[in-house]
Symmetry: C2
């Protein structure tokens, strides 16, 4: 029997070639013009699962893009791991900011540059190749199920129904997802929490039409100015969020937990240099690691109003808008926070304008347990591959389906991510390290092995 | 000899027909695709000046669109009135918001609907027809010169050079311009001031690329949020402009002048209802009339940053922008105010972002004297036509060339405007009252008559 290291060494060029074939498919779920490509990608994934040895492979149709399912049940008495991933990707525009085309994967400096390389094609495909190894070497220590969806980048809109309607099929003991980051190859880490999300759009209306700013300026409230004042008031002078009740349900970390998180290696100079900023910013009394992982935030994702073309136009606009999202932490509730925001924003708006707050979408925060068998198995597996025990971290992003899985399937998740924060997710020049990819493939069979052993 | 009233009565259909011909020419100076039409319009104006009896009519070429000149010198010993106007118009888009096409003039409810009807074709053409009357009836009491330009709507970019190079040709005793508004036909008024302008664009840069708001939100300054805070700070809680030194050169009106201005009829309920607002807004301690006419203002004309498309994207933008213009009053100086803004805006920006302030364009404020012969002549003429003495008002808009004429030619201006603030200048459905047009034609020969008489 080959060890996984031997197998990866012997097959790494093929592993890369197959991933490149997958990355060449522009499976952009947000843009209908890629519909054919998204469907082709589902078929590609199904084919690869079959080749790797999965049974009952199925392209499950939904109201949107299909979910690819596959399984290998070796013994119903053994525990079952459900692997989740997604084969769709973010839009690649603006194309002109890419150094090489987003759907022509290229390796430079040991990184695979392509849209979806890290998020999530490069990461879920590690599981397919690890499964292939276990099948070929008769090393599968537990049952395994795959659920790879095609709508994660558009809010997993049909996954909830699918999961509710297929509880029996999806029955498992734990979920494993590789769609997050670790600190670095030198400092492996395991995310133990994800933030929730409340996303709203606000519209401020002043006069019923655009006005000449010479004739009416100074006498009629300008909705862009009022919107600026409203947004400015949402953080106080300590950069705390100034919405009454916003922090009510936040579970404060103990000093011990905070100390543990802050042990993660973090160089403020390197961080600032990478982003081209002089200074970090954030809630007073918390470190950058805490701000991004353990504290709720409020960010303006977009703002617009009035004349935004070339040159000058002296208009006093009728309307101004903003898209604002809040990241949530346990035990905040997305619906409650959206309601608090709406109530507050409407209350502080002066009578000289009208405001409207429309909710976009949301998701609940989750904390994954660090005392579970699955977490311990992941910890052991990473320790074996990297030679050092992984640090628990809190991720700043949101994967709303983690809360969904817990609610509907009653299952906890292990976030076994091999990406890096610097991988340019959702941005031009998305990348994923070749080393991250191959180390991921090496680690996954160990996770299954230890998970099965610890369950005995 | 016919009186002007008799002449207008006898010729009013022709006066409207000729104006309609002028309005049918889409002389949009901002858009190169109308180049031929702008040039045709210059030729049309020259032809009409000749027909009315002007000598030395000339289409004076400039680096841009031509300036149409014409004159009638009856006696070098008599005073000379220089009439300024512009034959170019604002772009008409968005076309779909017009009830009838912008270049197919139509009369509805006694108003001429067309782009340029009030600004400024309908207004400068009154002078051509009044001149025609005076020539036909041997009633010209002074010398008259016309200078009708074709680039007012793009900042009169070539007028400065033309005026400097033609000081002798343009020699006169006063300038008269009909390109402003009166309160109403029942309450004639004369504008006695125009505000200046400083127009800037600001750019706030945070991180060197758009970031994932989950990964970086809460730890890196968001340029849209910072821009909102900076804009919010530009007005204090009394809606005074909070730029140090901003008011230093403002000449405060005397209580008497303020009382005089506030005698103008103004109904706050009708004003609010017309604009669809619950409440007016503005600098504490000043009435709406004062706010728009006599006080400097600061308005956001446009703001943008981040994701502004449909739906939601969780981006922490790299950049946010705003276009901001300030209206100035005597004795503020456009360059000095632009400098003060730039210095202040850069000073208040926190170190977590970079800001850049780019000046667009500007113009100086002017006050026209109310104790001059020309003002008194205009006052008498309006009193005779409307049966009531006109009220002096301060216009909120800017006509930068008025300051230019004073500087280069040493001439004061009379703002003999017959438009209304509700004429939708620069907006869809621009209109000009038939009555305003005909009363204007009736008033102008009286102005010349009294101006000549008072000069004796």
């Amino acid at each position: 029997m080959q060890t996984i290291q031997e197998y990866v060494e012997a097959n790494k060029q093929r592993f890369l070639d197959e991933l490149f074939d997958l990355l060449r498919l522009p499976s952009v779920s947000a843009d209908p013009k890629f519909k054919g490509d998204v469907e082709k990608t589902a078929a590609f994934v199904a084919e690869k699962l079959k080749e790797a040895g999965a049974d009952n492979v199925e392209i499950c149709q939904t109201a949107g893009y299909p979910i690819v399912y596959g399984e290998k049940i070796i013994d119903p008495a053994l525990p079952t791991v459900l692997t989740y991933g997604h084969y769709d990707v973010q839009p690649a525009d603006p194309y002109e900011l890419w150094d090489t085309p987003p759907f022509e994967p290229t390796i430079r400096d040991g990184k695979i540059y392509a849209r979806g390389s890290a998020d999530d094609k490069g990461q879920f495909y590690m599981h397919v190749k690890a499964f292939e190894y276990m099948m070929k070497n008769n090393a599968l220590p537990c049952n395994i199920k795959f659920m790879i969806e095609g709508e994660e980048e558009v809010g997993s809109i049909n996954l909830g129904n699918f999961v509710k309607e297929n509880k029996e099929k999806l029955k498992a003991d734990v979920i494993v997802i590789s769609d997050t980051s670790m600190i670095s190859l030198e400092t492996p880490s395991l995310e133990t929490g994800l933030r929730g999300l409340s996303y709203v759009e606000v519209e401020v209306t002043g006069p019923n039409r655009d006005l000449h700013s010479g004739v009416y300026g100074g006498a009629v409230a300008n909705p862009a100015t009022i919107l600026a004042k409203l947004i400015a008031s949402l953080h106080d002078e300590h950069n705390h969020i100034a919405i009454p009740g916003f922090y009510d349900d936040v579970v404060e970390l103990t000093q011990e937990e905070r100390d543990e998180l802050n042990k993660a290696p973090f160089e403020i100079e390197a961080y600032q240099e990478d982003l081209g900023i002089q200074e970090v910013w954030g809630e007073e009394g918390y470190s950058t690691i805490e701000r991004t992982g353990t504290r709720p935030t409020l960010e303006v994702n977009g703002i617009w109003g009035g004349y935004i073309g070339e040159g000058a136009k002296t208009v006093l606009p009728s309307k101004a808008y903003a898209k604002i999202s809040m990241r949530l932490v346990p035990n905040q509730n997305s619906q409650r926070i959206t309601d608090l925001f709406k109530k507050h924003f409407e209350a502080i708006a002066p009578d000289c304008v009208k405001v409207e707050v429309k909710p976009h979408h949301g998701g609940e925060p989750v904390v994954t347990p660090t005392d579970s068998i699955a977490y311990k198995a992941a910890e052991k597996a990473l320790t074996e591959t990297f030679g050092i025990k992984p640090i628990p971290t809190r991720g700043g992003g949101s994967i709303p389906i983690v809360a969904l899985f817990e609610e509907v399937l009653g299952l906890k998740t292990v976030l076994l991510g091999f990406g890096l924060n610097s991988d340019n997710l959702h941005s031009p020049n998305e990348k994923y390290g070749v080393e991250n990819y191959l180390k991921g493939i090496s680690t996954i069979p160990l996770f299954h092995k230890y998970y099965a052993e610890l369950n005995k």
